[in-house]
């Protein structure tokens, strides 16, 4: 089964990292987007704490997370035995081989529930690929470009959400998704988007 089909499977939990929550909040349509897929969402205590750290400087991500929790769209997830062992392996060691607590907890919990980690960090996803073959991780742009989102909120709103995440949260876009993203938001809007690489803003990718 492809990652795309897992993203619309109600039995597969999606574990959102702080990086993804920031992007979803920037779309201003987080609730509608999360309702668009049947999967249950969760966030670890560590990732939620990272969002809270931004509150001191006026960022509203933690507040928005609490609203989503109150609306029943996402729940806080505690790590337990099996997840804790993965978490430990991801935080203890050299810099190159480890992640910060929130990123590690996101992967550990997704592994614990056999779900999908929603995480933008390139290093985290390559660590997962090398250490946990078969483990699924998706990034925000992959999730936002899913057909289910277009079906729920419309193609235009989906493109607007992508653009808001790019401009409002400097959403990271892996190179393999650049071409499709550019088609979806339109080359004119892509050309004005400073967080995209120059190649994606030029006439051809």
């Amino acid at each position: 089964m492809s990652l795309s089909s897992f993203l619309i499977n109600p039995r597969v939990g999606l574990v959102a990292d702080a990086s993804v929550m920031i992007n979803l909040n920037a779309t201003a349509r987080a609730a509608d987007i999360m309702k668009a897929v049947p999967n249950p969402f969760s966030i670890t205590e560590n990732a939620a704490a990272e969002l809270k750290a931004g509150s001191q400087k006026g960022y509203r991500d933690h507040e928005q997370l609490l609203e989503l929790i109150d609306a029943g769209l996402i729940r806080r997830a505690p790590l337990s035995g099996p997840g804790m062992a993965v978490y430990e392996s991801l935080i203890d060691g050299s810099a190159r081989q480890t992640l910060d607590d929130g990123e590690a907890a996101t992967i550990a919990y997704a592994k614990e529930i056999s779900g999908i980690a929603l995480i933008d960090e390139r290093k985290a996803r390559s660590l997962c690929a090398s250490q946990y073959p078969g483990f699924l991780a998706a990034c925000t742009v992959e999730f936002l470009m899913h057909d289910a989102i277009a079906l729920a909120i419309g193609v235009q709103a989906q493109a607007d959400a992508l653009l808001s995440a790019l401009n409002g949260a400097r959403m990271h876009v892996p190179s393999e998704h650049l071409e499709r993203l550019r088609t979806m938001i339109g080359p004119e809007r892509a050309a004005l988007c400073s967080s995209l690489p120059k190649t994606a803003r030029a006439a051809t990718v």
């Binding site: 991500d61 060691g93 810099a95 190159r96 081989q97 910060d100 607590d101 990123e103 400097r170």
Partner: protein
């Protein structure tokens, strides 16, 4: 576990430093994880390995992360508790500045180590304070340093670059509370480190920078903080104060300039002081006080000028004309973190050595800020050309 694991003793030592930085007692920390103080002592001494749930709780209490405590490259410094011991009473402004210096140095050293960057140190010889006339020693040591640096008789226009590029001192110019002028610390791992207040005018920043340099020369192993209520009562502080004046305004140079500017005239005027201060790059008060010290002006001259309307900015403009704003350190002072640290962080992220989350923690930034810092880093990679490849 990824890669080589730290020993229980190393983890315990890091936990102790993190606790002291967070200003918590062993009793406070023990309560956080529900153990008695002796158990916490055993953990800090490496006699008992901290458990993962305990580590998470301690990391939160110490305002850090478990990864920052266990990551092999992480550098843990004890500047905050060392500075705290210097203060007679707790001072939030000094504590904040100390914490900032500690965090900047810690992050920079860790990133240098991770990237294999070696910072060259070229410290001048130490000159311990000797018995006898402290001013005379300061004057001599200041001239010796000027000669060692090859500065000649000209004014010091950029003390930060001298410290950074010529001496290899870690120097940061960041906005601090107005009462803090500068901090100096020396650490075996990090070397000499200086933090200066970006909110102060260039003349004052120069004075603070040279004052801290005096501590590098004379009392290298002692941390030092310079505040606006400094009374310069100790021999070390009197030395640093005299060194600062002698280094910025060497006696011979001031005498020569004074003789040229006042030749054939009967009274010391505001115009003389404005010209002399401008030539040396110091404030009007600093110049008059130096003239008093060198017996080129009578004691009480500055107080007389103050009592008679002072020497105003308008009068300076009348003598020197409109001068551009001297924002010498704008580039160093701006940005979420100092520019060199930002470059190291971008490189560490580009090379997949540090994640966004790890950098946010290391640089004490939130996720939005770290994204701002890293913006465009990937573009640099994808758009790089052989032509702009660095030769090392």
């Amino acid at each position: 576990m990824s890669g080589e694991r730290l020993t229980d003793k190393e983890v315990g030592e890091r936990l102790r430093l993190a606790r002291e930085n967070a200003k918590l007692t062993q009793v406070d920390a023990a309560a956080q994880i529900g153990v008695v103080r002796t158990t916490l002592v055993a953990i800090e001494q490496g006699k008992r390995r901290v458990q993962m749930d305990e580590l998470q709780k301690l990391a939160i209490a110490y305002r850090t992360s478990a990864n920052a405590l266990l990551r092999r490259e992480a550098v843990h410094l004890d500047m905050v508790p060392r500075f705290r011991k210097l203060q007679e009473s707790s001072d939030d402004a000094v504590e904040a500045a100390t914490r900032l210096l500690n965090d900047l140095v810690r992050a920079e050293v860790e990133l240098e180590n991770a990237l294999g960057v070696v910072r060259t140190r070229n410290y001048p010889p130490e000159r311990p304070i000797l018995p006898g006339d402290i001013r005379a020693q300061a004057e001599q040591d200041a001239q010796e340093l000027r000669d060692w640096l090859g500065l000649g008789p000209g004014p010091i226009t950029d003390i930060v670059s001298i410290l950074d590029l010529q001496l290899g001192v870690r120097v940061y110019v960041r906005p601090l509370n107005g009462k803090v002028s500068g901090l100096f610390a020396y650490d075996e791992t990090a070397g000499a480190c200086i933090l200066l207040n970006a909110n102060h005018p260039p003349e004052r920043l120069l004075q603070s920078g040279v004052h801290e340099t005096a501590h590098l020369i004379s009392t290298r192993r002692q941390p030092e903080v310079l505040t606006d209520d400094e009374r310069f009562t100790s021999r070390e502080e009197r030395y640093a104060n005299a060194f600062q004046r002698s280094f910025i305004t060497p006696a011979r140079v001031v005498r020569q300039q004074f003789a040229e500017i006042t030749a054939g005239q009967s009274h010391l005027t505001r115009r003389h002081i404005i010209l002399l201060a401008h030539t040396s790059g110091v404030s009007r008060e600093a110049m008059v006080r130096r003239l008093e010290e060198l017996k080129l002006a009578r004691e009480g001259t500055w107080d007389w000028f103050v009592a008679n309307g002072g020497i105003t900015d308008d009068q300076v403009r009348q003598v020197l004309g409109e001068l551009p704003d001297k924002k010498v350190y704008t580039a160093r002072a701006q940005g979420l973190v100092p520019p060199r640290l930002a470059l190291l962080a971008r490189e560490a992220w580009k090379k997949d050595i540090y994640s966004e989350g790890q950098l946010a923690r290391l640089l004490q930034l939130n996720r939005h800020e770290v994204r701002e810092l890293l913006e465009g880093a990937e573009k640099e990679e994808s758009e790089a050309n052989e032509l702009v490849k660095l030769p090392h």
